[in-house]
Point group: C2
């Protein structure tokens, strides 16, 4: 992509109320635009990041048997009354038609998926089954203030599993945990991410969060470095009475550290199948309750979280797997030869299938370097009169501090 | 995919009020589920169709320079007041927060895209620019009754173009027309689809529909077989006083025929840029109004339209480019050898990268044949004791009536 053609540019002035690191860098870098409080438009660079996150999530959920569907955002009021959440779900946005409250604007999809799977999977032969979607969700956040971490409109992957027994749920729950580890590894946050025993009302004993360590985290966790699991500070205070200890080994020497939530999984058990009277027929013809699990990952939240985790004072440092482009090619100065060689290199990179953003704008070297640091692609390639004296380009990794010269004809080999 | 594992099955009983062909076949075939009036869930087979349509649309819009973004469904009331459509847009769904009307649930995105592009493209150097999205939209359809053709919640691609002059808009409008032709050709409806002069209020002279001929169409068009263009019956009655004639050549021998709308394009000109006071600075430093075009294709509507266009009394006949799978492999009877050979063939097809739905269920031949016709994949492969006597499988195209035997070892070659 030619940066001169990119309609959304880097910006200097951002809305005053945007205090979070992720919103600041994502708006400045031209990844997102604030439409209104808690609601963002994903611009070309930001949308590419989201699609890459989606692809990784999709592949790993497909690998554990997930079948992808798309459920609606508009949900019948009756379904929410059936579970009692029409009144109880705090942040539920209700939609009126002709002054009559008719729909919920889905913040989550248990109220749709449970009666849906009930229609099709009524025998033990139909179970277990695993169904997921990647869908836009809505919450009436009172004071959205964390950029993509907590919006009124956001994108989530939610997987639901349906089982004949708690043992079977337990087995799949462990598979889902492994899939989540793979996802975090591919996103580049694996080594910083811990399974965490979570607080959470009714689901308390049955739910886990995934928390990624970062000084900018909203949450505090107590980490057991022996077991590689953690416990959320909230649950410690509520349930352990203030003395933090490892849920698995009882270790009391836990590390208190800031973290950011990047996923959560629940054993719903029969909570929703009971509401919808969803039973299956077992081998003996007897009706039994269906046991459910659910597994969420915020796709847009992840984009924000990764910016909080990977940045420096100059801008974002994208992990290669989700960077909008792999290479930022900068052409410096007005020299005709620089322009020519840059064009040739740009086309060679494209032909080799390497994703490249080509800064072909008429801007100063200073502006181009600053924008490259802000946008944060993994590799910066600079073509200038000076590098061409040596038939070379200068390469620098965004997360490194070493610049090196590479011969023009060796650039493609470098990225192989 | 093993059909025995597919959680959503073919169904016999469908809601009484579903009178449209597309809703009947799509629900029976397990492609969609009706969540409530005008709102559907896309099941695994249906979601695959939609993703394939999306991919074709995305590729062709990228090819004419479209930059993909994602705008929100929640839209600020103020933006709709700015264009006067908060009151004027009939089917607008309004969302209240704490009993105050605050948001529109986007039925279209001019109110978001215009101020968005205004932020970034203020000079003649920034124009033209082309921005699109594939997004879920919402309309308060009074009586939705046409399945995926007209829902309360639906998926659309909408492309917006921004220009310095009407000539430049005209040039791009012609490019967009070519892109639309390519899309319809790839979707298999090209030869049946005609550019149609459309009615449509304020945009009347400046808008075109694409109409695909089918006896099940909701619209009537008058087709000029010489010019290969048509005029919508509504516009004939309104503007030509009832005597149909070709808009291009004046031909009065037009063919009256039923058709279904599969896209529309508008020259918005300065309608929205004026509302948002969006001007650009020209070469001489003078402010000039920005000229806009917009180009819509209903992605979910297309899925429904294609079922209306391509079906017989037994079920759907998917064009190969958007069929959820290319091959339906049926394993008939309880013979161990049939099961073994089917498994081997299934795995060979998968390894060769051929998309295959494998009917490995314990069902009768009758049920399997009926479901294969209903689901409508392009190729049916049957493995039975009879075909194995000749070391063969039986192949039948869904849109043909000839069955032929092919040696097992030649099956992969057949699909190459």
């Amino acid at each position: 992509m030619r940066q001169s053609k990119l309609f959304a540019k880097t910006v200097k002035d951002i809305p005053n109320e945007e205090k979070s690191i992720n919103a600041q860098f994502l708006i400045k870098g031209g990844f997102i635009d604030k439409t209104m409080s808690g609601v963002y438009t994903y611009l070309p660079l930001g949308w590419r990041v989201l699609r890459k996150i989606e692809k990784i999530v999709r592949e790993e959920i497909n690998a554990i048997g997930g079948q992808e569907i798309l459920m609606p955002a508009l949900q019948p009021k009756e379904n929410w009354q059936t579970t009692g959440r029409w009144e109880d779900f705090d942040a539920l946005i209700k939609v009126s038609i002709d002054e009559e409250e008719k729909y919920a604007l889905g913040p989550t999809h248990e109220e749709i998926i449970t009666p849906l799977v009930k229609k099709f999977a009524s025998s033990y032969k139909d179970l277990p089954t695993y169904v997921y979607q990647i869908q836009t969700k809505f919450r009436n956040e009172a004071r959205p203030k964390s950029g993509l971490l907590r919006g009124r409109e956001f994108i989530m992957k939610d997987l639901y599993s349906f089982h004949t027994s708690e043992e079977d749920l337990e087995n799949y729950y462990q598979k889902a945990e492994k899939a989540y580890e793979k996802i975090y590894n591919r996103l580049g946050i694996g080594p910083l991410t811990y399974k965490t025993f979570a607080s959470g009302g009714v689901f308390c004993q049955y739910s886990h969060e995934y928390q990624t360590i970062t000084p900018y985290g909203e949450d505090t966790i107590y980490l057991c470095e022996k077991c590689k699991v953690a416990v959320n500070k909230e649950i410690v205070i509520k349930e352990q009475g203030g003395i933090p200890e490892c849920v698995e080994c009882g270790n009391k020497k836990l590390k208190e550290i800031k973290a950011i939530e990047v996923g959560n999984i629940f054993k719903l058990k029969t909570k929703f199948s009971e509401s919808f009277n969803y039973q299956y027929t077992d081998e003996k013809g007897k009706l039994q309750p269906v046991v459910m699990g659910c597994y969420g990952i915020g796709v847009s939240r992840l984009a924000g979280a990764i910016v909080e985790i990977f940045h420096d004072d100059k801008g974002i440092i994208w992990p290669e797997s989700i960077a909008p482009y792999k290479v930022h090619l900068l052409s410096l100065g007005n020299d005709r030869k620089v322009a020519e060689k840059s064009e040739i290199l740009y086309n060679e990179l494209l032909e080799a299938g390497i994703e490249v953003l080509f800064d072909d704008r008429e801007e100063s070297a200073g502006v181009k370097f600053a924008d490259a640091d802000l946008i944060g692609l993994p590799y910066r390639l600079v073509v200038s009169p000076k590098t061409l004296e040596k038939d070379s380009v200068e390469v620098k990794k965004r997360d490194g501090d070493k610049e090196e010269l590479i011969k023009l004809k060796k650039v493609l080999g470098f990225f192989k």
